[in-house]
Amino acid sequence: MPDPEDIKVVKDLLQAIIKAKKNLRIYPANNPIYAKTVNNTHLKIEAIFEYLDEIPLRMTRNEILYGGEPVFKGVGKDDNLALFFSRDGLKDLIFKSGLTKEEFQSFLEIVSYDFDSEDIADDVITLLWEKDFQNIKYTVDESILVEEDEEDYEEEAVKQVKERSAGEDDLTKAYSDALKSEETAKEIQLVPITDKDVTALAALREKVARDKKGKLIDILYEMLLMSEDFYEFHEITAIVANAMEYSIKQGDLRTAIEILWRAKTFDETTVTEFDSKEELNHIFRSAESPEIIKVIGDMMDEEPGIEDIVLQEYVSFLSRNSIPQFITILGELKTIKARKSVVNALVFLGGKDIAVLAKGLSDSRWYVVRNIIYVLRKVGDPKALDYLLRAAGHSDPRVRKELLKTIGESKGGPKAAAVVKDCLDDPESFVRTTAARALGSIGSDFAKRVMLDRLSDGKFLSVDFNEKKEFFEVLSRWRDSTVFDFLMKTVKKRALFKRAKHNENKAVAAYALGLMGNKNALPVLEKMRRSSNRFLSEYAYAAIKRIEYGKQG
């Protein structure tokens, strides 16, 4: 039985390991607590190695034994270190003195894996094995590897070999033949390995790609060509689709593109007895599955991200079915670079089905809607305007603004102008001015009419000065007599009430006249310049200068 003092320190050590397991799970490796935990736990085990050469632990399902004495009792699944090791068949775990901090850290990291919820392809023993620790040894109960109905295999096999073995006669015969034989020659000559061979071997090893995906893809396409019937073809395409998904999940979009490119070429160049097109479509369909596009989105947000040119190449293989998921991730992406790339992708995809793209206009996230409006504008499809007009009443003013900009740029017909007209009553000033600018861009007679009506409306008098200025500036783009006369009338107007507000109108009308550059306005403006009102005088002066010297002033 071990020293009670030893039992106590080993117990402590195991508790420290459990604590470390928790900390390593919670904190990222660059957190100071992570490093501190590793350090402290290592100090603890080093202290034990002051007087023990090794710490051998025996694992059972719910207990860890040291020298036959329990030093750990686990209950249930959580924090059950005994179960954690024993369930994969680990029997003994031995820490040896000389254990370095680096080794111990790797060990603690393995212990901190959550094998139930994380996607880890290996069990704890394989992970220990791969680390090849110098100072942590283990033994394994291999019987768990054998199927129950094969348990007696060894015994059976041994029996069979023995049954077939040579009898006494055979041996005697062999012996006497061997004595009689004259032969001494050997069948083969051993050629020693030379430096040249070693160099040649190094060259062979050099050629082995670390990433074998490319090679696998070559083989899978050979196999598509070798398929003898529809069923085989069907199975191979399913594997190709898996390989593509795997590549993407590995962060390797280029290989995925290679796969898609090959599928496309195969379809274009190879004639099969069955409908291969439909089967190959499986590959394209999985390339645009919501799950995969989500993975791509996550990749785009992480370093190093995906180059725009690579994403666009990938997207070039996708169909309109991918539009909804791209709209979804557009709202989730964090980096501007990523969002820009997705917007570019949608510009390409939107051209395939503008109706599906336009559904994005009813997305609940205002910034998505704004992006979709932008995309619709870039798609450049005349039908886009119809969809845009439907979104006119969006609850977010930033969306309404983007929409008006788009409508303005598209120079849509009377229907568009009518929608814009309504926006002149928007509660937000910046939306109203954008609407005015949109009318200016539309530039039709109807638009002009709408503007003139608005500016003549008595209510316009009380509008904020800057908004007034914007509206008058828009009006000045129609360089015709109607507008000129209207502006002249405004400048000359005499007002008895609300004089300050009227003066604002006069000032911005003068400003607009200046922008129009019509010399016929000069006498009236001269008169205004002499006004005792400094505000009017300054505006008139600036307008005169502008008319006389062109743009500057």
Binding site: E130, Y153, S181
Partner: protein, 468 residues
Amino acid sequence: MESKGEIDLQKHAKDIVNNLAVIFRSAQIHDAANVAVVSSINKFTPMVNRLIKAEGAISIELVGEYFFVNGSRVKFPSEYIVSFEFLANEFTNRGLGSITFSDSIDVNDMQTLVKTFITSISAPEPLEALMEGMQNSERITLGKIRIQKDDEDVEVDARMAVKKTYFNAVSFTKGVMKKMSSGEKVNVKRAKRVVQSMVDQLLGEHELLLGMTAIKDYDDYTYHHSVNVSILSIALGQKLGFPRKMLLDLGLAALFHDIGKLDIPPEVLNKPAELSEEEWGTIKRHPFWGVKAILDIRGIDRSSITAAIVAFEHHIHHDNTGYPKRQTAAERDLFSKIVSIVDQYDGMTSARVYSRTPLTPDRALKLMLSRAGSQLDPILMKFYINLIGVYPTGSLVMLNTKELGLVYGSTDMPNRPKVLVIMDSNGQKVDGYLVDLSRKTKDGRYPRAILRTMDPNKYRINLAEYML
């Protein structure tokens, strides 16, 4: 810092051993005072002195086939194979086990060592001559070769462990294949574990597990074949200097290389008569089915990709003949090249339905050698022959002592393997005792040597039965 020193040591150990080999080698060609020798000594001493400072002393020891520096085994890359084997031979030939540098050394110390080392080989007792020559050196001490513990008990324990590993692997493979053919999911984590223990055995008791591959003429051919190919591939990979993780991938790929045979109807696979052209066509599709099975059942990850590639390529030859026929020629994967060599070897040396008499290992190697460069990769073939040796495990040999035995494992000397004696010098059947032909007696002579080889199949003598 202590831990840093250890890392340093692990990093430099291989270079120290390599450099020492270079020194002795050039001294053999020139002499100890030659420029080439001096310049390699000048490279060696500061390296050793730096480590002595950190470690106190540096000892280079040969145990079995491996070098240990200060007690840890030296892992070395494949470009050092020649040097390491050279140095191991030079040590063994002198009965030298270790060289310890206990204090900072200078060029003179090294020259004394080199001179003594070179001249000692022609002395009647090399080790004694060596020790005498270095008597006055306080900084360099020599040790004689440690006799490996191979008293009966240790031997029996090792044999038991190896046996267990081997049969676990076969029964596991059988279980996996049965499951696969009934469409059940297969646990890859367990397959990895099976291969890990084979890798461990091979890195330790090298020849014993190799000896188990002699078990083949048996009903469960495919399962044994799979395990044998896996074991021999790992052993070759080890010879080529692959790291452990790579050996695991290679062993896994090799274990599953013929998994596509599950899809071949048993009446074709086990047909005792000549196969029709159509039936051959079916057999030739097993690489195709293998890829499908591996990727279907194991899903796609790094190791299943490797295994799928090997399954597809293991019957494609070096010169691109073989099957399946590709539309676009491509270089085979290194693992495929390895498995195709081992696969041929195990196939030829096994009794199978379509070739009832197996070839003896040396005949098989001879035939394969004639295919090096056409069917098989010539360089890998050379390494393979070096692995299997002049007297492959399982060869039936008559010794000059008139003892009849089976080759049981290799030693550092290709002509002097370990032999399990089954008939003594009087022609009496014995229980089987092990002799190491590379061991000398006290008076420096080899008591036994191989006189001639016999065909064990002719007498139904199989190493396997003696191993069990």
